[in-house]
């Protein structure tokens, strides 16, 4: 293996921006995000000798960051109030809403709306959407980062999307004039 790539710096620094973004989304505070990233790198460096080469380094880093956050004061507060495996609990069932293009088609100009909707999502929905859509991780990678089975990744992701969609819908209807509703386009497919 390339010696440069084999070094901690060579592997970890390219992930700096995305880990910071993720940390800021979790903590919702710049200072706490910096502390979280710093602690993640310190822990990763310390445990680097136990990292198995050939396995997914990115998922490993996200796992460390997330575990560090969940054991922080803010993380513990969240996990104490909201069970992480909400979707596995009996009786929790989100109504399946049949999406129609008119209600959910979003234009690129709706960043702020989506950002505030993401901010208001429960942590376990927010993080899985970020890993899937922003980091473009595969289901397998997400399952390694969150330490859950792939089946849970699929069900949690599906519920996260449904929740976000249902929360965006009233805004879309109210603010239809300000949102460019994409009709008759087929880009992305």
């Amino acid at each position: 293996m390339d010696l440069q790539l084999d070094s901690f710096e060579g592997l970890a620094m390219p992930l700096f921006d995305q880990l910071y973004n993720f940390a800021h989304w979790l903590t919702q505070n710049r200072e706490e995000a910096e502390d979280l990233v710093q602690e993640t790198y310190a822990k990763a460096l310390k445990g680097f000798s136990s990292f198995e080469l050939g396995t997914n380094f990115r998922a490993w880093m996200y796992r460390i960051l997330r575990n560090t956050f969940l054991t922080s004061r803010k993380g513990l507060k969240i996990t104490m109030t909201v069970p992480l495996d909400l979707e596995d609990e009996e009786g929790f069932d989100l109504a399946v809403e049949h999406a129609t293009p008119e209600t959910v088609l979003l234009a690129r100009s709706s960043h702020e709306l989506v950002q505030s909707a993401l901010d208001e999502l429960p942590l376990h929905y927010r993080e899985i959407l970020l890993l899937s859509e922003v980091e473009e991780m595969s289901y397998r990678e997400i399952s390694e980062a969150l330490v859950v089975p792939i089946g849970t990744v699929m069900s949690r992701l599906s519920r996260a999307r449904q929740t976000l969609r249902s929360r965006l819908r009233p805004h879309l209807q109210q603010g239809a004039g300000t949102l460019a509703i994409a009709k008759g386009t087929n880009h992305g497919l």
Binding site: L3, D6, S7, F8, E9, A12, M13, F16, D17, Y20, N21, H24, W25, R30, A33, E34, V37, Q38, Y41, L45, K46, G47, F48, S49, F51, L53, A99, T100, P101, V104, L105, L106, A107, R108, S110, H111, E112, V114, Q115, L118, L129, L130, S132, E133, V134, E136, S138, Y139, M154, L157, S158, R161, L164, R165, A182, T185, N186, G188, L189
Partner: protein
């Protein structure tokens, strides 16, 4: 039928997580079914909206610089594994040393050697063996300023087989000193530097030949400082590093 099948797997489909064969079936269906293709389109656009909105925060330049400095020139993986192997040796040596100390059969001089050996192996077993990680003597030497009550010179290693891995502060009999770690052919060698007068009561011979130690150890006094070079490398390597230090003073 495909519509029903697809609806259940639409998320996996837009995430590209269905098997290739199934993917082709769904692709073909999309071209002929306006309802499914509109649904898929809305999901893809939602993904794209989150993708754009989710890239929201960027680290400050100051924070990036701080982190880069922190992790720059950190040890490579193979280096880390070295410590793991050293840990096994450390456990054996530390137990051995403790047993010997308990039995109280050693002379004061041998106890100092034993302590030096303990410091060497315990440090190598640590997950962060050095506090200043650098191969540059001009980085390592200034690091000790203000931390230890004396100054010393580090040898130039160009054209030698040795490489500096870093350094840390250490204590021997409550006396602060410098601990440097060098690498030669995958062997780690420790160099300890203390003020001779602080150790006078324990070491009155010069040079001293160590007895019954599982390491090669060389020690001498120069310019009021006591040097120890210890490691599991060959006696010739230990001697060569000692010569470099003697020449550097």
């Amino acid at each position: 039928m495909v519509c029903e099948e697809l609806e259940a797997k639409l998320d996996s489909y837009v995430d590209g997580e269905v098997p290739e064969q199934e993917m082709r079936t769904f692709d073909a269906h999309m071209r002929s079914c306006p309802s499914c293709s509109a649904d898929a389109l809305s999901r893809v656009q939602m993904k794209s909206a989150i993708h754009g909105a989710g890239k929201r925060y960027t680290p400050s330049a100051e924070f990036r610089k701080r982190m880069q400095q922190k992790i720059a020139a950190k040890p490579r993986r193979s280096f880390g594994l070295g410590w793991t192997f050293a840990a096994a040796a450390a456990a054996i040596i530390v137990i051995g040393a403790l047993t010997s100390a308990y039995l109280g059969t050693r002379s004061g001089k041998d106890q100092v050697f034993s302590e030096i050996a303990d410091l060497h192996v315990a440090t190598l077993a640590s997950s962060s063996p050095v506090d200043v990680i650098s191969t540059d003597r001009h980085t390592v030497k200034p690091w000790f300023q203000g931390k230890i009550p004396f100054a010393f010179n580090l040898p130039e290693l160009q054209n030698s087989e040795f490489s500096l891995l870093g350094g840390r502060m250490t204590y021997l009999e409550q006396t602060p000193g410098a601990h440097l770690i060098y690498d030669v052919r995958k062997h780690h060698i420790s160099v300890f530097v203390f003020q001779e007068r602080s150790l006078q009561a324990r070491l009155d011979e010069n040079p001293i030949s160590p007895k019954q130690l599982p390491f090669t150890l060389e020690t001498w006094t120069q310019g009021g400082l006591r040097y120890f070079v210890i490691g599991d490398a060959s006696a010739a390597d230990i001697d060569n590093l000692a010569r470099l230090f003697k020449a550097a003073v």
